[in-house]
């Protein structure tokens, strides 16, 4: 049996692999998903399923545009969201007169975004896992050890993004591993490799954050004022995501929580309340007996 280190108020700080006890860990790896160049081809979904042998779950008509996998789940580790929005598309002045825009298209835009596990700096799923099945890899990612998971299901409601889930026929929980096996041999994750537009970019998180900052600046300069980053900030409620995004609308439009906070951040104060309540229970029962037998 091992005793997990609670750390400073249960938090990891900026280096989750180091905080988990790795010495000389490789740089923290992650995804930058630039949804402004996603074309909705779902190559990432397919590549992920193929590589990780994830069972099928998307052969239904949902009526949700081209989306038939609906959400991240035990059997969908990359999920491409499709949003059809009535919105006027401004043609940049630099495009010139020769760019024809159909009248219908001028009133309408399509948002597409490939969602994935965020591999949080402060990962609630990992914090609450009672068996140690969920663990922090040397790359700073969060992975389920399938030979240990006993299917208690605690990680499922703990995740603020609705990522990890239980396979009912199997009993255990599953989610994106950021292709841990491929990272181990120096390859990039299957989804990033399959992405034809470099919407999914893989690399050291520091580099990705710089690249994302430049891309955001470029888009703003081109007049795409609605572009914003999501999950890039180490000061946010989960200490920053290992997989972050460039979005073209508010996060909730894509099914993402606008201001997620890792639940464990409030656990110290919750344990204190538990201790006071436990003491109150002892006091209450003692008082009931102290007043005698009549």
């Amino acid at each position: 049996m091992s005793v997990a280190r609670p750390g400073r108020g249960f938090e990891n700080g900026p280096d989750p692999a180091g905080a988990s006890g790795y010495v000389d860990a490789p740089p923290r790896m992650g995804f930058f998903t630039d949804t402004s160049v996603c074309i909705g081809c779902k190559a990432c979904e397919v590549a992920c399923k193929e590589w990780n042998l994830v069972p099928e779950d998307g052969l239904v008509f949902t009526g949700m545009s081209y989306d038939n996998t609906q959400a991240l789940s035990a059997n969908t580790w990359r999920h491409v969201a499709f949003i059809e929005q009535p919105k006027r598309i401004e043609v940049p002045a630099t495009a010139g007169e020769d760019v024809g825009v159909a009248p219908a298209a001028a009133q309408f835009r399509w948002l597409m975004s490939s969602d994935v596990c965020k591999h949080c700096t402060e990962a609630a799923c990992l914090d609450v896992c009672p068996t140690g099945s969920l663990f922090r890899t040397e790359f700073g990612t969060v992975v389920v050890q399938q030979d240990i998971c006993n299917g208690c299901g605690y990680c499922v409601p703990a995740c603020p993004y609705g990522v990890i889930d239980q396979r009912p026929d199997d009993g255990r929980v599953f989610k994106c591993t950021l292709c841990y096996d491929r990272l181990k041999v120096g390859s990039e994750p299957a989804c990033a490799q399959a992405c034809p537009t470099a919407s999914i970019q893989f690399g050291p998180l520091d580099e990705l954050r710089e690249r994302a900052g430049r891309r955001l600046g470029g888009l703003h300069d081109e007049g795409v004022v609605e572009a914003r980053l999501y999950g890039h900030d180490p000061e946010d409620g989960v200490g920053g995501d290992g997989a972050f995004f460039l979005l073209l609308d508010e996060p909730e439009v894509y099914g993402l929580p606008p201001d997620p906070v890792v639940t464990t951040r409030d656990l110290v104060s919750t344990w204190k309340a538990v201790a006071v309540a436990a003491a109150a229970l002892v006091a209450g029962v003692s008082a009931s007996f102290a007043f005698g037998r009549r």
């Binding site: 049996m1 091992s2 997990a4 609670p6 249960f10 959400a71 991240l72 969201a81 949003i83 609630a124 914090d127 609450v128 009672p130 140690g132 240990i148 998971c149 006993n150 299917g151 208690c152 299901g153 605690y154 499922v156 409601p157 703990a158 603020p160 993004y161 609705g162 990522v163 239980q166 396979r167 255990r172 703003h220 004022v225 609605e226 572009a227 914003r228 900030d233 508010e250 909730e252 439009v253 894509y254 099914g255 606008p258 201001d259 639940t263 104060s269 919750t270 344990w271 538990v274 309540a277 436990a278 003491a279 229970l281 002892v282 029962v285 008082a287 009931s288 007996f289 007043f291 037998r293």
Partner: protein, 309 residues
């Protein structure tokens, strides 16, 4: 309820994945854990004051509840044969890990106390086991509040500071209910006081928790949770009143009041469980409070990390 005008979501889909737990297993466990914890304290109090029959009732109750709760927990696992993996680590960040260790220590103590009492052997060892179970009992009755609060489930997480108090009140009330139901009338004075006090406290604390949760508190009033909540209020109210009146009148009323307190505690646990599931399934409860928080922060620091407009 008028939907929030600013509320947007992805095709109305939930943001969170709802708990996969079965209501009967996990809400049942919340109830049984409270009953076991409360009963072990009642057993110790009864033993210390020489009320042997009440002590025996409470011991049997605590051990039965603990055994059933273990079964419920194992039954709810996706891989029940791996339940011993719960003891691979001790993790303070996981209330389920902490709880596994509490149960691991509590069940033998409680069982020992009951078996030695029933066998009428080794009174010193029996007293030690009774004391040991009573030392662990407050933790057993309260840690489950941290367990469910330490999730992203809106109504559970928002209730995190009141939940432990609701849970200990509910556990004490259930234990008092069992005493009133099954102990001889001559030994029910303490559990009568406990039942009334804990019952009133449970009603008030659950109400406080619901109100302080803001819009998320709606999840306690709607649907299945609302039905359990209303049933709990009626049962606890009837149980408290019945216990008060039964002080002057016969034993049957006292026993019925005890049963009502027991059932009321169970209904409270099921109401809280169902409210959590509902609040995870409806994206409104996740998105609206987060959006309000984010917008308030943006108003305070308008140029901080915002896209240029």
């Amino acid at each position: 309820m008028v939907p929030d005008a600013d509320f947007t979501s992805y095709y109305g889909k939930p943001v969170l994945n709802a708990p996969t737990w079965e209501a009967l297993d996990i809400a049942g466990y919340l109830f049984l854990g409270g009953l076991a914890g409360g009963s072990s304290l009642v057993a110790a109090g009864a033993q210390a004051t020489g009320q042997r029959d009440l002590a025996r009732v409470a011991k049997i109750g605590s051990t039965t509840a603990a055994a059933l709760s273990l079964l419920a927990l194992i039954h709810d696992l996706g891989r029940p044969t791996r339940f011993l993996n719960m003891l691979r680590m001790f993790k303070p960040t996981s209330p389920m890990s902490v709880g596994s260790w509490i149960l691991f220590a509590y069940v033998p103590a409680s069982t020992g106390a009951t078996v030695l009492d029933l066998a009428d052997r080794l009174p010193t060892a029996g007293a030690l086991a009774t004391g040991g179970a009573a030392v662990l009992a407050p933790a057993l009755a309260s840690y489950t509040a941290a367990l469910i609060s330490n999730t992203a489930v809106p109504s559970w997480h928002e209730g995190r500071h009141e939940m432990p108090f609701v849970f200990v009140a509910s556990g004490a009330m259930a234990a008092a209910g069992l005493g009133l139901l099954a102990a001889p009338r001559a030994e029910t004075a303490a559990v009568r006081r406990l039942g009334i006090g804990a019952g009133v406290a449970e009603l008030a604390l659950a109400e406080t928790m619901e109100r302080r949760a803001g819009m998320v508190g709606e999840s306690f009033r709607a649907g299945r949770a609302g039905k359990y909540r209303r049933a709990a209020r009626s049962l606890v109210g009837a149980g408290v009143l019945g216990t008060l009146v039964a002080r002057e009148r016969g034993g049957l009323l006292s026993r019925a009041a005890g049963a009502a307190l027991l059932a009321g505690s169970a209904c409270t646990r099921f109401a809280i469980f169902e409210a959590g599931v509902e609040s995870a399934r409806d994206p409104r409860y996740t998105i609206v409070p987060q959006r309000e928080r984010l917008d308030a922060r943006k108003r305070a620091a308008p140029n901080d990390g915002l896209p240029r407009r």
